[in-house]
Symmetry: C4
Subunit: 277 residues, 4 copies
């Protein structure tokens, strides 16, 4: 990944994922809070499930693409792990990134099985996702050997985000459907995305003008900058949440429900999905 | 902040905040425990909400004032971040303190939205407050580079209080309305306040007579002194709690309720606020 | 405390406390599990409460005695904190031990108020106890500066027990009346007691024959020995639990209850005490 | 244990244990989810209990055998702890391994008592198991002094698995019967088993060809390899779970239940075992 693009690409994925989660959970929370207005017209249980299946498939697809790109793109190891001619491991960095993608693809696959077939208990999708984030952080910890002080520091900041997210998703195993945790997860995902971009700008400034990687003032600035990213992402999540909530409510009020009898029944189903842990 | 006043000021804010929380939660707990005496006359749901709105507004107001003071007071950076003439960051300390205030103002704003509009889920105010304390501690961790042993140590003691408080508030996301956690939070807030004063006295003794910043005995004394602060603050919280409880009970017993039918109804509302997480 | 007796004394207190807790909680658990046999004859709610009051009073009494002993026994600081003639702190060790006793006396006092007056919420007694254990460990952490390797190591082992116990008691704030946690707490308290004795034997062997404080094999042995203490204390707790359970059951079966109507009522009260958190 | 066999043996035990747990919990979960099809024919409460008793007995038996083997096999200490002729501890490594087995035998014994006699509260078996894993990790931490970098690293990876498992089992004290945690525990147990084999291959390659124990690339590879083990074990657990689920469902559908009245009753019993914590 040692390039600007190598950081911007995963950053963009996390940014899109964070925005998607913010939207999804805000919308579901708004429909849950407005049941009296017949909100299940907007999000029936079947449509929720379809959404989850699509999300899982996309996650699986892009993770597999990421794995293949790390292996077969120019300079990749092409599935060879050990270079017997030089007696050393081949492209360990690429293998490590491929391993990270592997766990996200596992999380996608498990989530797909959980939501498409009902064979597995619901909470497994969160557990797999928590493990994926944990392994991402775990590999980053041993990724930083022998680098410059500032290089290590920007990645350490990233680790706070990654492990924080792993913890939040793990808590969701026990507190599924808790909107507070879901919004926090979205904000941390956005934070990860925007911080990947920031790392790119700090380590490989696209417009030239290198940073002094050993100046302690830079470390203090970077720490503070990480907090600003968090604040900005919290603002984005908050704004989106409020916008979606009021949009849902105004639309529901404009078109009053007619078929109340049918909706009541769907409501029950809707809830059972959230609480069955 | 490198001055006595720079530590006494935030200390005073935390002391006032801690006393306020002790009073508020003791009062609400006393009214909850004495429902049979018709205590909702003293704290109806509407009055509780008004109180929360006022508290959030004050928090928001003082945090914004703090941010402005850090930026525009004598020697502040006046919103300039990088000094191009000297090629270095400008007044990073002030920027860091402003960042801390920023998260408290965010917490105030979110709490204001939660309690004034009902648009957002209740638990968000605790989450935002937990994040504010966490970020305060997080910035302090990277604040201590290259200082003297005792200087680092007194700030480490502070960190125990700050991170402990962040943890307690985060637990309140899941256990809202748990009086044990609320009193612990109040005591830790008082601890933070009184410890800021203590730091001022140790590092910038107002009556002269410098401390030896490298003597290990001083470190042992300071550790112990931190425990005494905690004990004293627990005593203060305990005394206030008992005083308020007995005051509420004696006042309720003097004036028996008449309109029982109405009160029953309000009771239900009162509880729903505490338990809806 | 730098002597064999100085470690044996607190060790004995913790041993007695651990045995007491094992007995108390085993007995209560046995009465709860045998309600159908009318076990409330053996442990009514009033008698439980009386027991708690006595326990708290004893805890308060001995902690105050401990504080006074640390201050006024031969070589104590007699409440003077700073020796102005030598410009240094006076007997910091004694002051630290007195501080530890202070928090246990606070825990005793709070527990006394909780159980004697009903003014305070039940969970506060556990919170105060958790804080007492936490502060004990906290002070020990900064107690070990500049000692020998083995000396530091035996105290580190102690810290595992102390912080483990603080954590378990803190969990009891949320899971009050969980017999698993209560037995774990008893075992850890016994562990602390027996380990204090072991520390005495290692650092101040009463029969002479000093240990080599820098030999790494000794450290490995001591680590293992700590595990044996834990195993032995788990066996003691287990044996006591089984003995008390079967004693209660056999006694209840010998004397069948007659006044069933009355007992039913008391049962309800009994439970409410355990679950009201 | 300093040999290939010494790592392969415990590894095999953990592998068998992990597979067993995966099968057991998958089967029970499948019967729970298919109650409407009369699944209690396959797993009545009595048969569940019998299974637990057998499992505990085997665990106790093999742990005791392990202890005896460590003591009396060739080169063992034969219960002598201190070699007075050489003034040093005798075979501390063997004693440490025997201590680990001791705690697993304790866990087995407690589990046996819990499931065979009903005298003890259910959650105790999980607590004892959590302690066994914790002590295993605890002794490993102090097991690694003065070894090579790679040797320390492969054992550190093991520690993640061991402490992770201790944490998961401790969580089960509070969330008994949570299939997500049970499957995670099974996967971590398999991970431990396969990683023991991997350690054997890395440190004592059976086909010769030593690894360079100080090369940093090897450390990076080993970290990644640990993640692959986890992924592979998650796949194994997942496949087994799906296979068992569909086998249970297809068999239940082939033979429809006849004696519905009786089964209803057994159902109630079945559940009470899982939820009584």
């Amino acid at each position: 990944m040692g390039s600007f693009k190598g950081h911007a690409l995963p950053g963009s994925f996390f940014l899109i994922g964070g925005l998607w989660w913010t939207g999804k959970y805000s919308f579901w929370c708004a429909t849950r809070r407005n049941k009296c207005l017949g909100s299940t017209r907007l999000a029936s249980r079947a449509s929720q499930r379809r959404l989850e299946v699509i999300e899982s498939s996309l996650m699986l697809f892009f993770s597999v693409v990421g794995m293949l790109a790390e292996q077969f793109a120019a300079g990749g190891p092409r599935l060879r792990l050990y270079d017997t001619s030089e007696n050393q491991w081949k492209d360990l960095m690429n293998w490590q990134h491929a391993t990270m993608y592997l766990f996200f693809s596992l999380a996608g696959a498990i989530s797909l099985i959980v939501h498409a077939t009902e064979a597995a208990p619901l909470a497994l999708d969160r557990l797999a996702l928590a493990l994926a984030f944990f392994i991402e952080g775990f590999l980053f910890v041993y990724h930083l050997h022998g680098r410059n002080m500032l290089d290590v520091h920007v990645h350490q900041m990233l680790l706070y985000g990654v492990f924080g997210q792993a913890l939040v998703v793990f808590l969701e195993v026990f507190h599924r459907g808790n909107i507070t945790l879901e919004l926090l997860r979205s904000a941390l995902c956005l934070l990860q995305g925007s911080w990947f971009w920031q790392i790119g700008y700090v380590l490989y400034p696209p417009r030239g003008g290198e940073w002094d990687l050993t100046d302690h003032n830079n470390i203090m600035f970077v720490t503070m900058c990480f907090c600003w990213h968090l604040a900005a992402n919290m603002l984005i999540v908050g704004t989106l949440y409020c916008a979606i909530s009021s949009a849902v409510r105004s639309r529901l009020k404009r078109t009053p429900p007619v078929e109340m009898g049918l909706l009541k029944h769907r409501d029950g189903e809707l809830e059972s999905d959230d609480e069955a842990v």
